[in-house]
């Protein structure tokens, strides 16, 4: 399968690249203001934005990673699907509408709607950029390995191809191009997943019970495959990981940014509904992808292709649908990676160019033209930094960086978002301490965790005993983020009830949304 590319594979790859470039060219003519660049002018409809959110969310880690995890670990892999889905309720119930009503381009805009301070803005931008870089390194390293495997080209060329493509979309087409690439990719990904799932079900005579019956004996784990415990044996660690999954989404910058691409809170609401249905159906289908791969490809071949199981879905496509389906699925995986990293570049650039350069350094005194130029320079900067980091991280096992990104998002961003909207006494000092405690505690706890330290050489980045046994520190760092914000608030006398009333009115009625946004 990896001895060079077939004609069909080349056809699908070229078609995807061509299609996305046409979209970028079309979008470039509609991208003239900063608002066009960062938020597609706030002009997406509910279903469009919903598909784009789903697109942002169904990263390669979801598609390739969860399919592989279910294939190798049965139910334990499915934990991710559950956590990622329920997370949408947190987004919908707590964050989406107030965020739309208060913010403009970035998370920092939303918090500074209450606390007009460059310290707050700078800290929010720092946490955004940290999350974006970690998430991006994980995606780029994964992408490099995948494309290397699929096309038989060198890792560094693969990373450069992805890097150049993502920069092209963002640079010329801004949020409009990125959104439409997401929308199309989400549709293609769903199509591919539905086709494979259909083929898997067909093999089992369209009976879910007989599929489970077969799976109970199909793997070397026997009946244990259908129950939790194959991978996650430490209860606290499992709980901690699930906390990160469910709370992290509501703090991920590239997801939060998606609520500024619609015109009002009502549209933000309807886009979450669209996204939840699409993502939910997709996650149900990960059962078929995973089970199918375990049954028709087999554990050994999956691990032989990629130790983390990332090739499970493409190999399953090949086993059931031959070269055409294999090529299609690989091309879709490629599109998935491109779309997600483009969205990440854009949210990183918004923090760098809008928050740090435009609002802190230039104090908001910046023309429309300068803003767009700054946004483009910021995008190139973020892209170059992440490409360099990804090139350096080739041999490291960076899969844990995605869950680290979720952990930071839940620990540093979510507490400050909740306090800003719902807590009257909250103040500037509290906002800064909430973000810093969450960010620093997540980073430090991961730095001393088994992801980084392992006594056996080659198992982790450094050789040695980890200080804590948690692979995901959310169970400690999320409460610390909330606590940090609480203590920071009480230590400072500052309290502006009048400003809070304004925020409360805006968040709940959307009254000034047009003054704030466009």
């Amino acid at each position: 399968m990896t001895n060079g590319m077939s004609f069909t594979a080349i056809f699908f790859f070229v078609a995807i690249v061509g299609l996305t470039l046409v979209i970028t060219w079309w979008a470039s003519k509609r991208t003239s203001s900063a608002s066009d660049f960062y938020t597609a002018g706030g002009g997406l409809t509910g279903w469009q934005n919903g598909l784009a959110i789903a697109g942002d969310y169904l990263s390669a880690a979801s598609f390739l990673g969860i399919a592989g995890a279910v294939a190798l670990f049965g139910f334990d892999g499915f934990f991710f699907s559950i956590g990622y889905l329920v997370a949408y309720l947190v987004v919908l119930y707590i964050v989406a509408e107030p965020l739309r009503n208060l913010g403009k381009f970035t998370l920092a805009d939303m918090i500074t709607a209450r606390f007009d301070s460059s310290k707050v803005r700078g800290t929010a931008a720092l946490s955004t950029i940290t999350i974006v870089l970690f998430y991006m390194i994980a995606q780029l390293v994964g992408a490099g390995a995948l494309i290397q495997l699929l096309l038989g080209i060198d890792y560094w060329i693969a990373v450069l191809i992805v890097g150049v493509m993502m920069t092209t979309y963002v640079l010329f087409g801004g949020m409009t191009a990125t959104s439409w690439v997401q929308i199309i990719k989400a549709c293609l990904l769903m199509l591919g997943t539905v086709i494979i799932s259909f083929l898997v079900l067909k093999e089992f005579g369209f009976s879910i019970t007989s599929m489970f019956k077969e799976m109970g004996t199909a793997t070397d784990s026997g009946a244990a495959y259908l129950n939790p415990g194959l991978k996650y044996t430490n209860g606290i660690d499992t709980i901690s990981m699930l906390i990160a999954l469910v709370l992290g989404t509501a703090g991920l910058p590239h997801i939060l940014m998606r609520f500024f691409t619609v015109k009002d809170a009502k549209t933000a609401r309807s886009s979450v509904i669209w996204a939840t249905w699409i993502v939910g159906i997709f996650y149900i289908l990960t059962i078929f992808l995973g089970f199918g791969a375990a049954y028709f490809v087999g554990k050994e071949d999956i691990i032989a292709a990629n130790a983390a199981g990332n090739m499970a879905a493409p190999l399953l496509a090949e086993a059931l649908g031959g070269d055409i389906l294999f090529s299609f699925v690989c091309a879709v995986a490629f599109a998935t990676i491109l779309a997600v990293v483009a969205g990440l570049v854009l949210s990183g650039a918004s923090a760098l160019s809008h928050d740090i350069y435009g609002q802190i350094i230039k104090k908001g005194k910046i023309t429309e033209k300068e803003q767009v130029l700054a946004a483009r320079i910021g995008s190139i900067t973020i892209a170059i930094i992440s490409i360099l980091l990804a090139l350096g991280a080739q041999t490291l096992n960076v899969a844990f960086l995605v869950s680290l990104a979720f952990c930071i998002a839940g620990s540093a961003n979510l507490p400050v978002i909740i306090y800003t909207i719902y807590w009257k006494r909250f103040n500037t000092a509290g906002a800064v301490t909430a973000m810093l405690t969450g960010l620093i505690s997540a980073l430090v706890l991961v730095a001393v965790s088994p992801n980084i330290w392992n006594p056996v050489e080659g198992k982790a980045i450094f050789v040695g005993e980890p200080l804590i046994m948690l692979t995901n520190p959310a169970i400690i760092s999320v409460p610390l983020g909330f606590l940090g914000g609480f203590i920071g608030t009480l230590l400072s006398k500052e309290s502006d009830a009048k400003k809070y009333r304004e925020v409360e009115v805006k968040a709940n009625t959307g009254i000034s949304v047009q003054d704030v946004s466009h």
């Binding site: 906390i243 509904i273 939910g280 009115v505 805006k506 709940n508």
Partner: protein
């Protein structure tokens, strides 16, 4: 909802709105709805890893070879979709109230 705000030069007196009884009642209703549902779904969700890590209740077979852990998970999916639609239904009502609050403010002689 901001359709009424055609003139951008208008200064909105947020304090006046915040002190309207109708606004206070909306915020109270909204927050108690949002947070009570949030507590419920987070509890239902967190119960899953707690049950799977510390008990074997969900390891028992429910239908054929399908164990209860899958049934519980399916329940969480159904819960997610149902609560999404419950939210929309509630939020549409809140929208109407918010609109009435803005109208009340505009007619009730907010300082402008």
């Amino acid at each position: 909802m901001a359709n009424n705000q055609t003139n951008k030069a208008v200064v909105i007196d947020y304090d006046a709105i915040a002190h309207q009884e109708s606004f206070k009642s909306l915020v109270r209703k909204k927050n108690s709805f949002l947070w009570s549902i949030t507590v419920i779904f987070l509890a239902a969700y967190m119960l899953l890893p707690i049950l799977t890590s510390y008990t074997t209740i969900l390891h028992q077979k429910a239908f054929g070879e399908i164990t209860w852990v899958w049934v519980y998970s399916a329940g969480l999916f159904i819960m997610t979709w149902s609560l999404c639609h419950l939210y929309v239904a509630k939020a549409n009502n809140f929208d109407k109230e918010a609109k009435a609050i803005i109208e009340e403010y505009e007619n009730g002689g907010g300082r402008r």
